[in-house]
Symmetry: C2
Subunit: 174 residues, 2 copies
């Protein structure tokens, strides 16, 4: 699908297709539909990012809290969204050694207890070792730093999900 | 569940239970969790309303666009959320006469074409005849008026969904 086809979509189809580019937040996609037509994939991506940036801090925490744990109970019980499952299994979250799985679970709990939202990272841009290392390191951050960092990761995830749905822009539109 | 039990919920359980009090917008519930403890059901309801009010106009349109049509394809195909199905069938949307069903479909399309978001009304507070009458009347409004009106209805729906999940406050907490 190219950007011209995207711009021609009624809101219902637009939300059906793009509603989960930010995990479980179809309101964001539904809101930016008001900004069409988009000149490019980048423009659609930018509109989503701008909408996220206008939210109060509690809203940004809300976005993070709509994300599942990495290698958490939703992966185990098969209740992840299709996109999250692809990303988590791609990063090997379903084939952790018992030691790594237990360390991941422990660190996820520590992270959530400290920050009141889950650890979010763009799994497609990281491998197993990297994810475990960053989870451990990021547990040491201040809350405001992690909120900002988590939202940066949400935007990376969104960008990759968009790219898998819309043809990447031609170079002259980048 | 009383408000003390609500305040003790970790965010994951809170979002699991209350995530759909605003249709398909768990981000809102997840955001207001930051505001706990709530002194009462009214305080939780007020926090949700305040969050909605802080959203830009596009965000309010986004909320409306997360709502299904009344007596629309989601009701027919069985893909409504549990809450919406209860509300729509309670108002008789599944037992419209062929004439009313066809009028409803036509007016829904007219409404969406005019406003770029769906007609939202608190079905539990209205019967079949009322819903059809209001849909017809509200098609005549200005867009900004309907956006505001739609959001008022979202808040009524939210209030009733909350009440079905949390014990109504004792009179001294109203």
């Amino acid at each position: 699908m190219d950007i011209t086809a995207v711009n021609a979509l009624p809101y219902e189809e637009f939300v059906n297709i793009f509603g989960n580019v930010v995990e479980k937040c179809p309101i964001i996609t539904a809101a930016v539909w008001s900004r069409r037509p988009f000149v490019s994939l980048n423009a659609l991506d930018a509109a989503i990012n701008e909408f996220i940036d206008t939210l109060p801090e509690s809203g940004k925490e809300g976005i993070l809290r709509c994300h599942p744990d990495l290698a958490g109970r939703d992966l185990q019980s098969g209740t992840l969204t299709w996109e999250s499952r692809e990303e988590q299994t791609g990063a090997g979250m379903d084939t952790l050694s018992p030691e790594d799985a237990s360390r991941m679970a422990r660190k996820n709990e520590e992270y959530k207890k400290r920050f009141d939202f889950p650890f979010v990272i763009c799994a497609r841009m990281n491998d197993k070792a990297n994810i475990l290392r960053q989870l451990t390191e990021r547990c040491q951050n201040q809350r405001a730093v992690e909120r900002t960092r988590g939202i940066e990761e949400v935007k990376k995830i969104c960008r990759l999900r968009l790219q898998s749905l819309v043809l990447t822009d031609a170079p002259n539109k980048l």
